[in-house]
């Protein structure tokens, strides 16, 4: 029975539509790299952005896009895409180096020298976490079924261990998905954060390009953000990338 379920599961995985790389995508990618090498960062950006819509799970593409943004002088966007690239390539040394390199250029010092969005950094990407959760779930259900027929000390403890691992990996997956949706970076040179929606309200503090934020809520063209340290406020949507 279990083998049948597993067969069905893996059939489902393999039968899911895979996005094939066609010649035109390869050409766009090569052209954008050439534009980047020749210093035509604007053109490289356009092409990388076009590809990013079709390949939203390519960390390397986000990394190239971030490099192009950095070279084009758009620090905020480059930091945002480096963070996106890091979510998919969490252990890549190049991504880590370039992210730190870009962060060194920003003006604002945050969270007592710690970058806010590093708090959400998990050393596994979404797919790896999904595999981990699946393996833990498989182990959990297997041990649950075994415990129906046989009960002893080892089985009972293995049950506790597998359920703990399942909870842990599931929590990491939830955190990963939360951070993916809620991270943001200031793209404007300088922008104010207000106490309520509207530029006529009280200015709470000022942020500069590259400052990392967590978006808590969205209303009209405004975002409720936090930068940690209990600092919250509303910021116009066009001043950040999220």
């Amino acid at each position: 029975m279990i083998s049948k379920i597993l067969f069905l599961y893996f059939l489902l995985i393999f039968s899911s539509s895979t996005l094939a790389l066609n010649e035109s995508d390869t050409k766009i990618f090569i052209d954008s790299n050439t534009s980047y090498d020749q210093g035509d960062y604007k053109n490289a950006l356009l092409k990388y952005q076009e590809l990013a819509k079709r390949f939203p799970k390519s960390g390397e593409l986000y990394y190239n896009l971030a490099n192009a943004y950095y070279k084009n002088g758009e620090l905020g966007k480059s930091i945002f895409y480096y963070i996106k690239a890091r979510k998919i390539l969490p252990r890549s040394g190049d991504v880590k180096y370039n992210l730190e390199y870009a962060r060194n250029q920003k003006i604002d010092k945050q969270e007592s020298d710690k970058n806010l969005l590093d708090l959400f950094h998990i050393p596994f990407n979404e797919n790896e976490l999904l595999i981990l959760v699946t393996v833990c779930a498989l182990a959990f259900w297997t041990i649950m079924i075994i415990s129906l027929y046989k009960r002893n000390f080892i089985i009972m403890y293995t049950r506790y261990i597998t359920v703990s691992l399942l909870i842990l990996t599931s929590t990491l997956l939830i955190l990963h998905n939360f951070s993916e949706k809620n991270i943001g970076v200031v793209t404007a040179q300088e922008t104010s954060v207000f106490s309520t929606i509207g530029v006529n309200s009280i200015k709470l503090f000022t942020l500069h390009e590259g400052s990392e934020i967590v978006v808590l809520d969205k209303k009209d063209n405004w975002n409720l953000i936090t930068i940690g340290d209990n600092r919250k406020g509303w910021i116009p949507s066009d001043k950040i990338i999220n």
Partner: protein, 566 residues
Amino acid sequence: MKFYFFIYILMMANLSLAQIQVHLEVDSDAMSVNEVIGVSVKIVGARNASTPKINTNGNFNLQHEGSSSQINIINSNTTISTSHQFQLSPIKPGNFTLGPATVEIDGNEYTSNVVSIRVSTATSVPNKDRHYYIETFLDKKEAYLGEQVIHTFKLLNKVQLYNSTLEIPKFDGFISESLGPEKSVIKIINGVRWKETEIKTLLIPTKTGDLEIPPASINAKLIISQSFFGAETKPVRLVSEAIKIRIKELPLTNKPSNFSGLIGEFNISASLEKNNIKRGESTTLTLEISGIGDSQDFPEPEIKTNEFKIYNDKPTFNKTVQGNQIRSVKTFKKAIVPQKAGNITIPSIEIAFFNPSSGKYESKSTQAISINVLPSENGDEELKLATFNNLTSEKRNINLLATDLMPIFYHPGVLENRFTQNIKINHLYVFNIFAFILYICLYYQKHFKNKIKLDFKKTKRNKAFSVFNKQYKNLKKQPHFCSQASALLREYLGDKFQLDGKSITTFDLDKIFLNSKISKQTLLELKNIFTKLDNFQFGGITINDSQKDELMVALFKIVKKLEQEL
């Protein structure tokens, strides 16, 4: 005991009520830059005070010497005081304020008074008229860049100094190398016994221009008087003069093209392991550059020839200090593999260096060495380099000229979906739902099976009487009345007790009803019926209708009774 306790409480009460005061006192309000004076901070009315912090405004060096506590009881008034001693030495002449001193007691901060101190320039007493003095000097007033210069520090004293702490200056613009530990000698000058302590440091200038070596200083304690109770001491501070030296660039004229920055006096020697070898075999050429000066950075000498192949070994370097000079030896080993048979020559190798003593560039070279190369036995050009395991040249640091982003990814394959990217969160949900359903199915399967088993036994027990009753009605018509009646009764008991009814005998009855609630009378009646039935069945007695009726009634009666009692 109570009395002492009372006194203690009284003392503690007095102590706790005492007013806390902090006083800053100095031995003298005037001093010269090479003097040391004592400073004390007295804390009155507190026992657990922190070490005082004295605000020097950056004009003085301060050293904590220790603390002492005192308790005075005068007319039942108890006063506790703590005194902290410091040594104060000025950094520059001028009029300065010292203090206030700050102490922390039970979380509260208390500050002292401020004192003014006038610091004058050092008194110019001739050295010969002093009891102790220090001096620092260099062995030359000007030197070439990279030339060795010796810095000497001397302490001369004809009185005894204790707890001397030497502050050697920072040699900015020089590479410094200690020329060994301090040396002390006793000298008699004009009949007076002087102790001379000397520390020498070798300096190698790394930049040109007029450089200044800051003064060295020493803090010590001078014994003023000695008695049975100990010695009375006075802190002293000795400061030397700053020293100036001019560092010159190396001359540009007559600079050899092969000059690599070697400064000093050097020699080069060359030796060959074997002068007669076969073609394809190797021999080791050893080049040794030795002399006065530092040759660590001397590069690998190059030999340009087509007659043999050269494989460089990792060079070795050794540096020693001999007679106030740095001497170094750098050894290069090269594996020489001749490419042809016959006489081949290793050409002369020349090194160029700048000799500061002569102020000129000089060069030294090796003799040319000839090798007699015999033809190879098998004619193959086989290189026998097994003896050289490490053929790398000396490692050099890589200088970082600039930093930039890491390069982009170029391979289009990075866009392709990987296996792991095909896994979606929905798959996980589906898997978990399947697994959950499977678990529930298995759970119910297991529990339902047990339930059915239990229910079957219960049903059989409950329906025992109705089954009996059904067959009882047709019993009289049965051809083998007794055996049928006996079987019916046994089956009834079997159903009631979840046993195999056919195998129940009269003897089993006691055992079956051992833990049951039925009365002894009922059991006795049951046994009688069993016996009667057995007698009719196996005793050869023919049963008539009236006996059948009698047994039928008795059978029904006992089963009814069992039904009630069980």
